[in-house]
């Protein structure tokens, strides 16, 4: 039976997990095991994921055409 790391350890790993910065497979497995058994942490991570997705979609911008033209002309002079 897998050992549960507990909420305090999970909170420590929260953002590293969200940002893909956890590189220890055992730690990832322990964290995901905790999420599967802790409603509070599961809700929290879902909230963070949703917020991340909303931030990403709101802040991503296509560059204006006049900027692309300006940069192209600039680079032609190099």
């Amino acid at each position: 039976m897998k050992h549960d790391i507990g909420c305090l350890s999970a909170i420590e790993a929260f953002y590293a997990y969200l940002d893909g910065e956890l590189d220890d497979p055992e730690l990832i497995a322990d964290f995901e095991h905790h999420l599967a058994h802790c409603r509070s942490c599961f809700s929290r991570i879902e909230m963070e994921k949703t917020l991340n997705k909303r931030i990403r979609s709101s802040a991503k911008r296509e560059s204006p055409e006049d900027l692309r033209d300006r940069v192209s002309k600039l680079m032609e002079k190099f």
Binding site: D19, M47, I55, S58, L67, M75
Partner: protein, 197 residues
């Protein structure tokens, strides 16, 4: 590399990153015109500094580091807020961060978990952008690079010229401040209504 090949490599790299450059520049300057000028200035400076690109696989963080440097040297001077420099100095800020994170996150989670979560899901893009733009610059730049553009902590550290550990703590603090701002904007919050005593 032959000069024409170098130019082609540079142009392709810029074209592949121009939307991301503009997105980051817009969040840094918070003005369309300034963001466009910042990107154009970055491209010009980057070509002038092409000799400093030691590893072509590192083109993206190298280019964004130049963007950040141009922003710091040419744009931030105009709107500098000196108090920001104290945010991640000293051990006290870590304690403060942990306290703020735990306290705020619990409140935010309780709120998010109840029926009012619909408000969170219905947040307009403009409300989110306002919350991002109101973050102190030290946190805004880290949140935008990691969360919006998908830079790793190490790449973000390289872009901003700070330690990876500082990126990690600024991400935590930046997210906490962002959630606090959204929490205070929610309908019916004390911060969002007039006070009567």
């Amino acid at each position: 590399m032959h000069i024409n090949d170098l130019k082609a490599f540079f142009s392709t790299g810029v074209e592949q990153n121009i939307d991301a450059l503009y997105s980051v520049a817009l969040r840094l300057t918070r003005k369309n015109v300034d963001a466009e000028d910042l990107v154009a200035e970055t491209v010009a400076k980057a070509w002038g500094a092409i000799d400093t690109l030691n590893d072509q696989d590192r083109f993206r963080p190298w280019l964004f580091r130049i963007l950040h440097n141009v922003f710091v040297s040419d744009y931030r001077k105009m709107t500098i807020r000196p108090v920001e420099a104290s945010f991640d100095q000293g051990d006290d800020s870590d304690d403060e961060l942990a306290s703020l994170l735990n306290e705020q996150s619990d409140d935010f989670l309780v709120w998010w978990s109840n029926p009012e979560r619909a408000y969170f899901n219905d947040l307009l893009g403009d409300q989110l952008l306002d919350a991002i733009d109101n973050l102190p610059e030290a946190f805004r730049s880290v949140v935008v690079l990691v969360n919006v553009e998908g830079f790793t902590y190490d790449e973000t550290a390289e872009v901003l010229g700070i330690a990876p550990g500082t990126v990690r703590s600024r991400m935590k603090r930046g997210r906490t401040l962002l959630q606090k701002s959204l929490w205070e904007q929610r309908p019916g919050s004390q911060e969002n209504t007039s006070h009567e005593t």
